[in-house]
Symmetry: C2
Subunit: 717 residues, 2 copies
Amino acid sequence: MGLRLWRWAMMVALASAPLGAARADDGYDLWLRYRPVAAPARAALAAQARSLVIPGRSATLDAAAAELRRGLGGMAGVAPPAAATLAPGAILLARPAEARRLGVAVADAPELGREGFRLRGMAWRGGRITLVLANSDLGLLYGAFRLLERIEAGERPDRIDFATAPHLALRMLDHWDNLDGGVERGYAGHSIWDWWHLPDRADPRYTDYARANASIGINGTVLNNVNASAESLSPRYIAKAAALADIFRPYGIKVYLSARFSAPIELGGLKTADPLDPGVRAWWRAKADEIYRAIPDFGGFLVKANSEGQPGPQDYHRSHAEGAAALADAVRPHGGVILYRAFVYAHDNPEDRAKQAYDDFKPLDGRFADNVIVQVKNGPIDFQPREPFHPLFGAMLRTPLMMEVQITKEYLGFATHLVYLGPLFEEVLRSDTSGAGGPSVAQVLERGAGRPGLGGMAGVANIGDDRNWSGSIFDQANWFAFGRLAWDPEASSEAIAREWTAISFTPDPRFVTPVVAMMMGSREAAVNYMTPLGLAHQMATGHHYGPGPWVHDLARPEWNPTYYARADADGIGFDRTATGSNAIAQYAPDLARRLADPRTTPEALLLWFHHLPWSYRLADGETLWEGLVRHYDRGVASVAAMRRQWAALAPYVDPERFALTETYLAIQQREAQWWRDASIAYWRSVSHRPLPANVAPPAHDLDYYESLRFPYAPGHI
Amino acid sequence: MGLRLWRWAMMVALASAPLGAARADDGYDLWLRYRPVAAPARAALAAQARSLVIPGRSATLDAAAAELRRGLGGMAGVAPPAAATLAPGAILLARPAEARRLGVAVADAPELGREGFRLRGMAWRGGRITLVLANSDLGLLYGAFRLLERIEAGERPDRIDFATAPHLALRMLDHWDNLDGGVERGYAGHSIWDWWHLPDRADPRYTDYARANASIGINGTVLNNVNASAESLSPRYIAKAAALADIFRPYGIKVYLSARFSAPIELGGLKTADPLDPGVRAWWRAKADEIYRAIPDFGGFLVKANSEGQPGPQDYHRSHAEGAAALADAVRPHGGVILYRAFVYAHDNPEDRAKQAYDDFKPLDGRFADNVIVQVKNGPIDFQPREPFHPLFGAMLRTPLMMEVQITKEYLGFATHLVYLGPLFEEVLRSDTSGAGGPSVAQVLERGAGRPGLGGMAGVANIGDDRNWSGSIFDQANWFAFGRLAWDPEASSEAIAREWTAISFTPDPRFVTPVVAMMMGSREAAVNYMTPLGLAHQMATGHHYGPGPWVHDLARPEWNPTYYARADADGIGFDRTATGSNAIAQYAPDLARRLADPRTTPEALLLWFHHLPWSYRLADGETLWEGLVRHYDRGVASVAAMRRQWAALAPYVDPERFALTETYLAIQQREAQWWRDASIAYWRSVSHRPLPANVAPPAHDLDYYESLRFPYAPGHI
């Protein structure tokens, strides 16, 4: 059966799913659905799943075998028995030497590294076998997951030929989960960590979390919020974290904890948290020893210091490098690392907020301890719908860097807006840090400043205890895409969208093609209806729900949207050239030169770098005012089109996931309109310009939009 | 097939459930499980489910038909078609006149009232039919649920003959759910109300909530916490409540809201909330009109006023009756009621806290508006493991009363202690309010002060967004038992336990008998290891997790456990006789006379009413000190026995529900020991008495127990 027929068979299976299935499809299974394949393809699949041959035994290999049985049981109704020798129809999970011992002619595969794998259907004694080849148990587990995904996507296992290895060593989720169950910037319910009942209760969901992450190559998880409670490091909570680590270990996922810099005071009763104080250093060493006794493969600490009110080394007039070193020394004997966040801006710093991280960290390049990784957000502000790449990626060449992105959509419509973040991640990863042909941000991460074992990506998780994990079905794609891009930051976000859609719904191109088109356009749509042309941080205060471009009265200037847009009767935008904050000087000279001139600045970032008159002419000849309004309208129209498109796809989706998405698209359309109307109402009030011809006026006056209050908006802890 | 064989067939079905069932049994289905019946019984059941005959059509009848199809589909694999005429094997849902029109000889059934029903298997043309008879669509829905439950319990539908009608008109759940998703005293996760996505999103869980409640006869739900936010009454939140009401309506469940007494100020911008102020009265009328436009069958308001810091009429020197009247007048034109809580104690009242509700409300008896129901907690303090019945039940004869009980286990070990509350509810319902042969509390509620349409019970829900709804499997039984007892407050809690166990697990008596024994003993076990012999409120401060008998330094005397136990070197207990607070005078004379003497006071309430020397001789000859210690030991031993018992029942339970219960019993045993050890350590420190012979000393010294801190204990909002 050719690929085309096989895919067709899959579709039939979907359409004819038994009505008797009692459970609605609530999205809990994520992309690991393993629904039955239709009859003809099922027989073909079953014929290639007659036995599992796995030389060796470990918790990780057991997990691989269990996953293969679960997947093949679901898709083909078979439970392939374990076998010691190969026969046609076998699935073999082996290292090269093990495969050769069984008579399979394969060469060593150093190119797969410790975590990569190869999937290969091969002839065997008149039939075919499917080989999963890797150099470690974890590589074999990753391969098992990918094999099942490829089958779900409509491929035949015995014809597969595919190899991949991760480009980044650290592929991590950061949970901003508090010990009371709240999730800062979480839009998918509350924390999945049931801290109260840990370590006694091993919620089956923890295993499913590990399965989902292993399936996309995530290998680290920071359990608690960067705005950390010292209590997370108490003996009681270490025991709880250890219980999770025990569950995650077979899936190759290491546990990390956010460390509150002042924990030596709060938890240890010391008088200081000065990182040069011998008592403080001893406290951290003892604490690390205690943690490693409970969690021998503990990953290390994530630290947010001297930012947004958090304690840090600067409280004691020490540098971030000195602060990081105290913790780095504590975990080094155990092989741990420190993930030290570069997201700093100080209450008393009058400098352009976009410049402060660079100002603080660039001088420290090369001065961090050898097990410290500086974790830099993708852009210089804070996870906006669009930002330029963070200048530290081009400037901190002697320090291993992690890139931190938000998978949760704090500034991108929460869980109810369909915004696929793959293009956002891809845009920054492909950015040319030199402006002269590389390296790209992805390459900077891959190089790890010469220590590639320390390069990585961290995604602020969008996971909560909602049944569907991510708050919406399409937000599952953002978790998935993050994992795939952390594995290979040079991958195509469109290819990833295609893969996710096929395995999460159906490989039918009549569904995949339009859905991928929706997804690929969705981020630009959000940029257009929220913050077009390089605007940023126009969200309402605190919860960041909806528009608030008029807000100007918060205590610190950089808390106000007006700080970022700088709109008045004459024009709009933040001058970050030499006549303004000169933030462009933090970029490489070739790039800075282009950014100095609005004509050579990408129009998508125009107002990020330039303050321009309303009458400024855009590339297409429209004035800036006209173009701005047009972008908002384009964003609203895109959402309307997505909604129509989805409505036409009902035949391909189960009713529950269809309805949830339909409901949320309706909310998104309403809110896109609100963003557009409120923003235009405000810009009009400052520009004193008439609306361009044929443009609909806002539905309400500006007072109305300014009056809206949302005291229980989610995610605002 | 006789009843015995049928039951045996059910068991076989359980034991041989297909291994391929992908989903673990997470308890989401509650007692509405509808798992397949084994083959021989399945055929017999299918033969009695050949068609559904339902004259008439309504959303409620549609729900009944859907439930029957779901249940029979699950148990017998059939989908009985709708039919217009009767044939053998039919299930008929009909009013008496409708049944007669179809040729079934039944008399009118006024004894069923508006909500009761009869289930009857009858001969029909050489075969048998199953009749569900009622006088309303809702009665038929209730009957459909009960029919399915009886089948789950192992009965044959065609042999059934059963009739019941509710004794109380108002059978309500009170959700102490906040708009931010927190649940005050909730131990089952967070609120199931996804306020943020309402009214757009109709979470399928809302329908399952309605199904579960309708299946046990609950007909009202207060959506928000009695410690209410005024925002609940804003237009945005009224629309959200209306969306829930629309979902609940077919299931006969009315929506109520807790009203913050000061809402006219906070929401309406008025200067006062004085209930005699014309502007305030007009505001409440307009607000009620607004709500009824959105929710035509809105139930009314629940009010907590002048208690624990809440605003109320006394802020304006008005009585509770005057306060209630302002709201009562607003909802009366629409048929609404006011549920006015008698749970009051004031910061500045030096009187015994147990007396304050009576002092405030007894003088108002007969002075409340005709659509006001006073909602009285089961006991005079606050949902303790054991309290005497509230004296208002014997004293407020001209006012309809609701009894409020806690289904959530604030003071009974949260969700991890297996404590079946049926016996607690039954104990208070059966209490003789006169001390001279009745009426019982149940009868007081049933009489409704001559307006039986206003009698009722309210249970503070134990429902959260945990997958199993109630935090543990056995806490589902407390929800179930509350519903059954609100339907018939004279029912047997043991019979209810038997029914719940049979339909939630298996009717196999080898399982049911020991489990019911565990359940029936579990409440007394908790009393013994927490607060034996009439002690109360010895829980740690705020979160009420674990013991805190030593706490004495809180701002108000009645916040301290020492206030309630009054232990010193001489003795222990609260003197509520004439030599003390004389709270006994709030009870009927015959009862008060007996309570005046420790010898005629039930030993289970001894220290509630009397302060006695440590050397006081209990009925069995032990000293009070020896008896106290013995009770703690007995409590711990009971839990150990429950745990052993459960371990032996593994063959009868699916692995996931078995494991969760096993884990929680281990926690319960550890915490029972902690309660016992900490309590004895403290009592010993004040009594200066040696431990009785053969009694194990506490595992730690008192300092250790006093040092324990639980900053993230659940339920403490």
